[in-house]
Symmetry: C2
Subunit: 285 residues, 2 copies
């Protein structure tokens, strides 16, 4: 680069921290009916998708998030066949879910078609399983989708949404979770991205309280690195419809998985279940 | 804050990423013979120490680093009694090392007395064990210290330095590592902060190659969250003087430890030993 470096910066007012990536140029921008989507080319992180000013995905580091959001719950469930992804419009979680040979249907329901169109163009590797015959990529309101879902028809629901403000706000409350619970089969699991365990623990506490009020019984919080999100340390929260030990998972299957991952392994999954004392303390009932 | 927010920002040119913290005001600044040290009060992260423009320590998130740098090697060593810390002038690693009742001496050798003076003033909690009778806090050149160390006199050497540029450059090469190896007892361990496994893997590969050239035999890389460092994901590299399985550690002792930690536990240690596939691939010989 001969011109002076330019930086995309996101100042997280709620955590008092900031993250930035050095960019080469803006590649695209679209205002959908729901949000503004921007795509940048970065110097070191591949492409970057920004929604309403918030960093969503980079080519380089999205694998942490997508692998943990998909493989952690799917190897925790005894036999996941029917999976629903609410949000997830970049299609990266869908790709990971479809790596499981036992999955026979995976429905992705994101409200904003433009996110997927942008992902197809600028993150084609994330969309490489969209044509899988088991996949349904639809664009609709995830809240309504879950309200209308057939009872006891889903094994795992993955809520892969933006933060609890704007279009995604309704994906973090008791009414939504009650509909998720109804739609799950008895051994069903709900997993949701649950923000930073260092800086946003109050959101995790609130999410768990709302899930519990909706009837979910057991919970596990799994932290993982996610450099482009606030504090670089993120998490997913797994909730079970019925009582069960979420620290137990199909470890032998995870260790013998026939597909490649960059981050997730049985050992990483086990390690993520080791809750740091300061997190355990914040989550103590 | 009634005035517009100000941000301390560090642009990491070598990773193409940036980190920032929202600050209330600058509390102090000193130009030592070695480096410029600045202290800021932040809105959400307590105090912040910056050395030559690089984020070093915040009140809020330093525990990840200090706990992993101390407890991971000390619980890997069978019976650590004599520990040397090269660098570590903020005294946070020293405090953690001294939590081990079996340690009978811990020498901290940092070249820059001003770092410790600033830490005493703005991070007093990190310095609370400096008066421990087992502790020696000295200010000298760590390279010369190791060159002059008595052979086979140390159990664990912790290299808690800044990045391999400036004053710390000489702490990342074969000559230094050879002196470390000589000074270690036969079952001795060297541990060094080893940068980001996502963005700075080449540094880890280089460090390991130099350690190996100096005669170190086995290696383990342990990643951990460290929000204020590039990518928010950091690591330490443990090296053994003699052949041994560094994936084995005193797990029962770690699980039964009589002191409190915020991040480190036996489970976290075990989890950190689960190397993600993309890291293992980069480290494959």
């Amino acid at each position: 680069m001969n011109s002076p470096a330019t930086w995309f910066r996101e100042d997280f007012t709620h955590t008092g921290s900031s993250f930035g990536l050095r960019i080469v140029r803006k590649l695209d921008e679209v205002q959908s009916p729901f949000q503004k989507i921007e795509i940048y080319e970065t110097t070191d992180w591949g492409n970057l998708m920004v929604i309403d000013g918030a960093t969503m995905v980079t080519t380089r580091d999205n694998f942490f998030y997508h692998e943990m959001m998909a493989h952690a719950p799917l190897f925790t469930h005894p036999d996941p066949r029917d999976v629903v992804i609410i949000g997830g419009g970049d299609c990266g979680t869908l790709r990971e879910v479809l790596k499981h040979p036992g999955v026979r249907s995976a429905v992705q329901c994101d409200i904003d078609e433009q996110v997927t169109r942008m992902s197809e163009k600028y993150f084609p590797e994330l969309c490489e399983s969209n044509a899988d015959p088991r996949a349904t990529v639809m664009f609709d309101d995830g809240i309504a989708f879950m309200a209308n879902a057939k009872p006891e028809s889903i094994d795992v629901i993955v809520v892969d949404s933006t933060d609890p403000v704007g279009p995604a706000e309704g994906l973090f409350n008791r009414a939504f979770y009650e509909n998720c619970r109804k739609a799950l089969r008895p051994d069903g699991l709900l997993v949701q991205q649950s923000e930073s365990p260092l800086a946003l623990m109050h959101l995790i506490v609130d999410m768990r309280a709302a899930m519990r009020a909706a009837g979910f019984v057991d919970f596990a919080i799994l932290p993982f690195p996610q450099p482009c999100y606030p504090t670089g340390w993120w998490s997913c929260l797994i909730a079970s419809k019925q009582p069960r030990d979420l620290a137990s998972f199909r470890k032998a299957d995870a260790a013998a998985k026939a597909f490649a991952t960059k981050y997730y392994t049985a050992g990483i999954h086990q390690g993520a279940l080791a809750t740091p004392p300061f997190v355990a303390q914040a989550l103590a009932d």
